[in-house]
Symmetry: C2
Subunit: 242 residues, 2 copies
């Protein structure tokens, strides 16, 4: 315990990953990970600031928070940093009109984005929508652009559903990068800008916060590269060897 | 002409790519590229040795040669180096039992391969069969193996059909490499072993042969790395900038 107290010296806030830390997902819904509802409640009763920092890109923020509230979590939309809203902001700032290769569940986030005559491609964890036809269309849009811009909501290798490990958006990002000879821009963990925006929302510096996640690269590595401390849980996609 | 004669000094044989050089493919079939039937006929009348060296992995060798014969080409199965037969030989030599993520058109090549209780994954240009579900199954098979082996029939970025550019197997290979944290073994161009087996079949050394293809990486780069000369045609997937 003394060791832990030392490691946590100066920590004033916690960034919490959602999938694999608070809950596991399945085709039929989500289930809480044992102890996580009470852990969030305790954190919120403590003097620590709490922010949720997720790469979830299959659901809209509203739907995601709704699911978590139903599971018993004390959480609101304003407390979550998620890649789809961050992407919309970038698209607007840079005058980008995306071709969207995304899950139907997250489409509403892009309702007020102009998608006519696309000048970039946005991919997210599209699940079954990662068909050959849809991937090929995204590829063709990129190849027709003089300056192809590919934005990827996260670059996770895989995530865990109750039925098993599932391919995440990262592989599909790599496929388009390779086929088009380009480099994607990642919005979401482990992008430093994404962690910084989560820290900014709770008014903390990197050295004052700890990230808790199940992904050794996206959560732990990304946070550490930003100057944060980080802790990997043994739930979710955690595997003894990665 | 003098310059060409110089460049071709000592050339005793020609390796010919098929798709994009002899013909273009489409969903409904294949069409010859202008002048290619006569060019093959002239090469065969010349003292040069001729071998066809393809990464075609949507069709069986028999079907591919049948299509080319119907288009008027002087070609037989024995004259073609193709990745599926080369893969079957490797699988047998190493006692590998593949999970196959391939196009239905090439499945017959694997008829005498044991696919029970898979200990590796073989992917080829699967086209529409590159569904999320099929990719995820291949991913899960690899993640369950202690020593995951992924064999990819070629690693092309894209190819050209009459309807436009199409994603080739390379991107999907990259997706699985990234998701599983592994490196695939490529059977087909630009693998040196593949070029060597084509050269061996016509009894030539690398410096005695020239490769003619439309892919700057798979055909031209691969052949040059083997010590061959190479020539890129301006048909098929050729683009002024790659």
């Amino acid at each position: 315990m003394a060791e832990w107290a030392e490691r946590l010296t100066g920590v004033r806030g916690v960034l919490l990953d959602i999938s694999g830390v608070l809950c596991d997902s399945s085709a039929s819904g989500a289930t809480t990970i044992a102890g996580s509802v009470e852990a969030v409640a305790r954190l919120k009763r403590s003097p620590l600031k709490v922010r949720f920092c997720t790469n979830e890109s299959q659901k809209s923020l509203r739907e995601l928070v709704g699911v978590l509230q139903q599971l018993g979590f004390d959480i609101s939309e304003e407390e979550v940093t998620a890649p789809a809203p961050a992407t919309c902001q970038i698209l607007k700032e840079r005058g980008l009109r995306p071709h969207l290769l995304i899950h139907e569940g997250v489409r509403s986030e892009f309702d007020d984005i102009d998608t006519s005559n696309p000048n970039c491609v946005v991919i997210a964890d599209a699940g079954e929508a990662f068909s050959y036809q849809n991937m090929n269309r995204a590829f063709q849009v990129l190849m027709e652009l003089e300056n192809p811009v590919l934005i990827s909501l996260g670059k996770g290798r895989y995530y865990k559903e109750t039925s098993g490990l599932m391919l995440d958006v990262g592989g599909y990002m790599k496929a388009l990068e390779y086929a088009c000879g380009i480099k994607a821009e990642v919005v979401g963990k482990p992008s430093p800008e994404f962690f910084k925006s989560a820290l900014q929302a709770i008014g903390l510096e990197a050295h004052q916060a700890i990230m808790i996640g199940d992904d050794i690269v996206g959560d732990v590595g990304g946070a550490q590269q930003c100057g944060m401390r980080a802790l990997q849980v043994r739930t979710g996609k955690f595997r003894p060897r990665c």
